[in-house]
């Protein structure tokens, strides 16, 4: 069928690779020499259709044609990175193309799976269970209950855990404030400076 359609569309049928689609009475054919054609084989009455060409996710061409006659065009961009869309008004009749990003799309260019959640400002442990800081480190309180002499007065305090490792501090609270992690110890607030605590 594709050969017949290519001939009807006047597209070079010697092109080794064709892609095509047939939807809602509209046929779109692409060849690998950057030509494409559109036809509505069953159309017997005048009908205005529009064609839109997106290149790498951005519209680069829009045109109108009478569905009684085939539409042909060639582009100076790689059709493998284009999406061709035939519409009647706002209704899409047929579409043929690749990812919006085109052939240069790589999976790592977009988030794969769940995104890492960076904890919002002013979140405090407790009542939160954990905090994820700007560099993706996970902070929480451990299960070692500190002696009262090591704890802020009137509060239970525990060992501070960062990515599963005890950082050697005892605190009753961990907070995320202005992009920094700080802990409340018996000696007051301490801020994490990346490799050490502020005094």
């Amino acid at each position: 069928m594709t050969d017949l359609m290519s001939a009807a569309l006047g597209i070079d049928s010697s092109a080794t690779k064709e892609r095509w689609t047939h939807s809602n009475g509209v046929v779109i054919v692409m060849t690998d020499n950057n030509c494409f054609g559109i036809a509505a084989p069953e159309q017997r009455t005048p009908r205005v259709l529009s064609v839109e060409v997106d290149y790498r996710g951005k519209m680069m061409k829009q045109d109108f044609f009478n569905a009684l006659n085939p539409y042909r065009d060639s582009l100076d961009v790689d059709l493998r990175e284009c999406m061709i869309r035939v519409k009647e008004g706002a209704v899409v009749l047929a579409e043929l193309g690749t990812q919006p990003q085109g052939a240069q799309y790589q999976p790592w260019m977009v988030w794969q799976g769940d995104q890492q959640h960076v904890t919002e400002n002013y979140v405090s442990i407790p009542p939160a269970l954990r905090i994820v800081d700007q560099v993706g480190a996970l902070w929480t309180l451990g299960f070692v209950t500190a002696h009262a002499s090591q704890s802020p007065q009137g509060e239970f305090a525990f060992n501070v855990i960062r990515d599963g490792f005890d950082v050697g501090e005892i605190a009753s609270r961990i907070e995320c404030r202005n992009g920094q992690v700080r802990i409340f110890t018996r000696h007051g607030w301490k801020r994490w400076l990346g490799r050490e605590w502020s005094s």
């Binding site: 769940d114 995104q115 959640h117 904890t119 269970l129 299960f143 209950t145 009137g154 239970f156």
Partner: protein
């Protein structure tokens, strides 16, 4: 001398209903001990979708939840095993996690709260606010409870830290 234990649900799938994550009832027969609850937590690891979740710490009279048997685990290696044993019926001296049925017993809410599942939830009272559980005339247990099913049911962690006194 006191000993601390965790009663924890690890990476569980919850029933699509109001659900108890962890539950215990103090022993009513010798050796009787008082249990002090001084920590509770809940979190999920299924996804990074923000959602709000209600949580409660509550006591419940019979009938108790139907649980997966889980005994409290000692935090300090040198401590003896907990006086509480694993059980499915919430009976005196037993504990369990991840209820499949809540039981018809009335709950008394001690701590109602809500949290965003991305941050998890941690309850740490001041020393004066810890909850004490011991055998009483009307048997009741203590539980960490979601009064509404979470949006995501999988990969939930949660539990209680209790101290056995005496």
């Amino acid at each position: 001398m006191s000993r601390e234990y965790t009663l924890a649900l690890a990476n569980g799938t919850l029933a699509n209903q109001a659900v108890t994550l962890a539950f215990f009832q103090a022993p009513s027969a010798a050796p009787v001990t008082t249990l002090e609850v001084f920590r509770a937590w809940a979190s999920q690891a299924a996804n990074a979708t923000s959602a709000q979740q209600r949580v409660q710490l509550s006591t419940q009279v019979s009938t108790f939840p139907t649980l997966a048997s889980q005994a409290p685990q000692k935090i300090k290696a040198g401590d003896p095993a907990s006086l509480i044993t694993g059980g499915t019926a919430g009976a005196a001296g037993t504990s369990g996690v991840n209820a499949s049925a809540e039981g018809a017993g009335a709950k008394t809410i001690l701590i109602p709260d809500a949290f965003n599942v991305l941050n998890g939830w941690l309850w740490v009272p001041t020393p004066a606010e810890t909850h004490m559980e011991c055998a009483q005339a009307t048997a009741h247990g203590y539980g960490l409870h979601f009064p509404a099913a979470p949006t995501t049911l999988t990969n939930w962690n949660g539990g209680l830290v209790v101290r056995e006194l005496g």
